[in-house]
């Protein structure tokens, strides 16, 4: 594969596309698939065949269009978007290509949900077919790889990423360029690149969507990273709970190997890189990098103390670069457009965009990509469309079990790594759950503590025992048998866990409790002193049985 050959593929793809006057794209990402979008696609294909439009209208399955709650979504070449499409609507959709649009299916795209987003990571989602490499190449795919291999030295690539100011999108926000240069400088003949796709946070589905909608972009990002740090083998550690993402990744790897952008002597250079997929098996702690490495090695996923960091001693004892899916997905556009271009987006310390999985008690649930520095209010009330059923906003939870719940006074706070940390939450991987007044914050804190307790690997005592004790105390509070001393004990345990746990899971496990204690102290007080739950959740038989 040379640059010319790749260009040829892109040209052929453009020519093939322009042959069709009409296009119909059906979302075949997991959200819409579970609303039977595959049937919709089959029905549209059948209708095209029946009308003899095979040369007139191209139909393809594409990745996530964002508005998952209104699926199945269908878009056309005319720029229209249709929601809640059923197989029986196939005829109406095709009619709309040359006639009036079916009013009841139209989904307006001039609303803030679509207008306020800035798509970098998701630029191809909903546009390219995730199962065809040609489609990706036709959308300037793998051009960044070619550029890196033919025009840049590894250190120039690292410099470009440093210049972009990209920070790890997995949660902690470690500067990506710094990590790359550490691995690049590390000695050792064999280095590894690992893509962390073990998206364990409940309520987060960004990585899944990126893998299902645009798997080649992640592969390209890994290839560039491997070239920059001098690695020749890579692993994608993906949750076994994401069968569609795994299937599409496997297809993508096969296709990339076929056209020669993956494998030995890529593009005729001496650079070789292979990628293997490793399946996670449902352990939240495996999102922690040292635990993930243990899991890739076929062991129980228990973390180990750092240093040495994986950048020096990682997989099989060799220097290893671990980045999140979204981080890798940001790399090809940074190389294509330059680090300065990327650094112009976002805030001073948090550059670029962030993909959030907006869910919970909000009108528009789905996937949104926004520039860093946007306020929570814009995300929840403009893009998200506010709270349904006329209820009142209570909190927004970011960062999953490691994050915190932010009340309405923080709605005007800009979303970036530092501000969120200052407010007692974290950016996390990008789950954003909106809660209204029907949620009890003590119950939510208990939910997350129960999660951390179950997911604790059991290696260090503070986490193993501390999460259990905290869960018991929270259980007492929700059962309304607690006393004021229990809250003091809870606070003490928060401090203990935070300072003495071995890994990020234990250190951040108290965050939901601390943030709710800080912002919703009155709810704790009502449970303890007045023996009542203001939201009427605790004491509900179902809620108690579930935990």
């Amino acid at each position: 594969m040379t640059a010319e050959e790749l260009e040829q593929i892109a040209e052929d793809e453009h020519a093939a596309r322009s042959e069709f006057p009409h296009r119909v794209n059906v979302c075949v990402a997991a959200g819409c698939i579970s609303c039977q979008s595959q049937n919709v696609k089959d029905a549209i294909d059948k209708e095209i065949a029946q009308r003899g439009w095979q040369k007139k209208c191209q139909s393809k399955g594409v990745g996530c269009m964002g508005l998952c709650a209104e699926g199945p979504l269908v878009s056309t070449g005319t720029g229209a978007l249709y929601q809640h499409v059923m197989a029986s609507h196939a005829g109406a959709i095709l009619d709309s290509l040359e006639g009036p649009a079916p009013e009841r299916l139209v989904c307006r795209t001039d609303v803030p949900f679509f207008q306020r987003q800035k798509k970098i990571v998701l630029e191809n989602s909903g546009i390219v077919d995730p199962e065809r490499i040609e489609d990706y190449v036709g959308s300037s795919g793998y051009s960044a790889l070619i550029r890196v291999l033919t025009e840049m030295t590894p250190s120039e690539v690292v410099q470009e990423v440093v210049k972009s100011g990209l920070r790890g999108r997995g949660g902690a926000g470690y500067p990506t360029g710094l990590k790359w240069s550490t691995v690049a400088k590390a000695g050792g003949a064999q280095k590894y690149v690992i893509c962390n796709a073990d998206e364990g946070d409940p309520g987060a589905f960004m990585d899944r969507s990126v893998l299902e909608s645009d798997p080649h972009r992640v592969i390209e990002g890994m290839l560039i990273a491997a070239y920059a740090v001098g690695a020749s083998e890579g692993y994608i550690y993906v949750r076994a709970e994401y069968p569609l993402a795994i299937k599409r990744l496997r297809t993508a790897i096969r296709q990339a190997e076929r056209i020669g952008v993956l494998g030995a002597s890529i593009c005729g250079t001496r650079f070789s890189f292979r990628i293997e997929i490793r399946l996670g098996a449902g352990a939240f702690v495996c999102g922690e990098e040292t635990a993930l490495i243990a899991s890739v090695e076929g062991k129980r996923g228990t973390p180990r103390p750092r240093p040495p960091y994986p950048a020096q001693v990682g997989l099989f004892g060799e220097p290893t670069l671990i980045n999140n899916v979204e981080t890798f997905a940001n790399v090809p556009p940074i190389i294509r457009n330059g680090g300065e271009w990327y650094a112009k987006i976002g805030t001073e310390k948090s550059k670029g965009t962030k993909v959030f999985a907006l869910a919970g008690r909000v009108m528009n649930t789905g996937l949104v990509e926004v520039p860093m520095g946007i306020t929570l209010r814009e995300i929840v009330f403009e893009i998200g469309g506010g709270i349904p059923d006329g209820r009142a906003f209570k909190a927004v939870q970011t960062g999953g079990p490691s994050g915190g719940c932010l009340p309405s006074q923080y709605l005007d706070m800009p979303v970036d790594y530092e501000s969120l940390a200052k407010a007692g939450s974290i950016m996390g991987s990008g789950g954003m759950i909106v809660m209204d007044d029907s949620s009890c914050m003590v119950d939510v804190a208990k939910y997350f503590m129960d999660f951390c307790m179950t997911e604790s690997c059991g290696k260090c005592v503070p986490c193993r025992v501390g999460t259990y004790q905290m869960n018991e105390l929270l259980g007492k509070i929700t059962a309304r048998t607690a006393e004021a001393a229990d809250v003091a004990m809870l606070e003490e345990l928060c401090d203990l866990l935070r300072n003495t746990s071995l890994c990020g899971l234990g250190q951040s496990a108290p965050n939901p409790v601390m943030s709710t204690l800080r912002y919703f102290a009155d709810e704790y007080k009502a449970h303890i002193e007045e023996k009542r739950c203001p939201a009427g959740v605790c004491g509900h038989a179902a809620a108690e049985q579930a935990l």
Binding site: S34, C35, E199, P202, R208, Y242, A281, G298, I433, Q545
Partner: protein, 256 residues
């Protein structure tokens, strides 16, 4: 991939591990194995020493004809190739046989072969076993442990550490309730209590007739469709307790 060269499983080691299968539980068998072959416990991270006694006499280096053995090449190259040949031969003769003639074991073997029969392929292999057989039983764990040269304790440890693996077969139908945050605040606990009430069992259990298993998931990633439930591998979104009752009636009525 750079692979460390491990000596192969010997027939003695394999048969010793097999002979313990009559012992009761998993724990019992580990201690049993240690009686027969002490290195099972002592060499947790090291493979058993190679037993040359099991090379067929004709293939032993000393019995090879000089033309076969040297062929005019320098001695260290000859030795290297002989060592290589030895290794291959022993593996061929001592590969543990699958627990049964079930063709599904071939898939398991294929996975292990793809990963170089190396212990680092343990999780991948267990995934294949679970995918093909539906769950991991003692026999499967034992076979995988012997084949990958890991102590049974480690295979059992991995199988029980990860939530995705199950040691019990699931019912004919499965109903997985997502307990992710979005589903939780949108009513997943009520769905779960409906199931518990209708079937009188706890999450993770199967009805006594083996018809329905109730499971919970950490997060399906279908947060846009919260609350979500997976009925027999098919995701359903915005589920209400009534939908669950209907589905349960359908399953029991049609007996499908």
């Amino acid at each position: 991939m750079r692979r460390r060269k491990f000596p192969p499983v010997t027939a003695a080691y394999a048969s010793a591990m097999r002979s313990t299968s009559s012992a009761g539980g998993l724990v019992g068998c580990i201690s049993d194995a240690s009686i027969h072959v002490p290195h099972v416990l002592s060499c947790c991270h090291e493979p058993p020493p190679r037993d040359r006694g099991h090379i067929p006499p004709a293939l032993r280096p000393s019995n090879l004809k000089s033309s076969e053995a040297s062929n005019g090449r320098p001695e260290h190259i000859v030795n290297a190739s002989q060592a290589h040949r030895e290794r291959l031969m022993i593996t061929d003769f001592s590969k543990p046989t699958a627990p049964s003639l079930d063709k599904r074991w071939r898939l398991v073997d294929a996975t292990m072969r793809r990963l170089g029969n190396h212990s680092r392929g343990l999780i991948e292999t267990l995934h294949t076993v679970q995918e093909t057989f539906g769950y991991l039983d003692e026999e499967a764990l034992r076979y995988v442990a012997i084949s990958l040269r890991v102590p049974l304790s480690r295979a059992y440890g991995v199988a029980t550490f990860y939530h995705f693996f199950t040691l019990k077969p699931a019912g004919k139908h499965t109903c997985v309730v997502c307990m992710g945050t979005a589903c939780y605040i949108k009513g997943a606990p009520q769905l779960l209590s409906t199931l518990q009430h209708e079937l009188s069992l706890n999450p993770g259990e199967t009805t006594p007739d083996g018809q329905v298993s109730v499971l919970t998931a950490r997060c399906l990633g279908s947060c846009g469709l919260a609350p979500a439930v997976v009925y027999d591998h098919e995701v359903a979104g915005k589920v209400k307790p009534q939908d669950i009752r209907e589905r349960l009636t359908k399953w029991t009525r049609h007996d499908c």
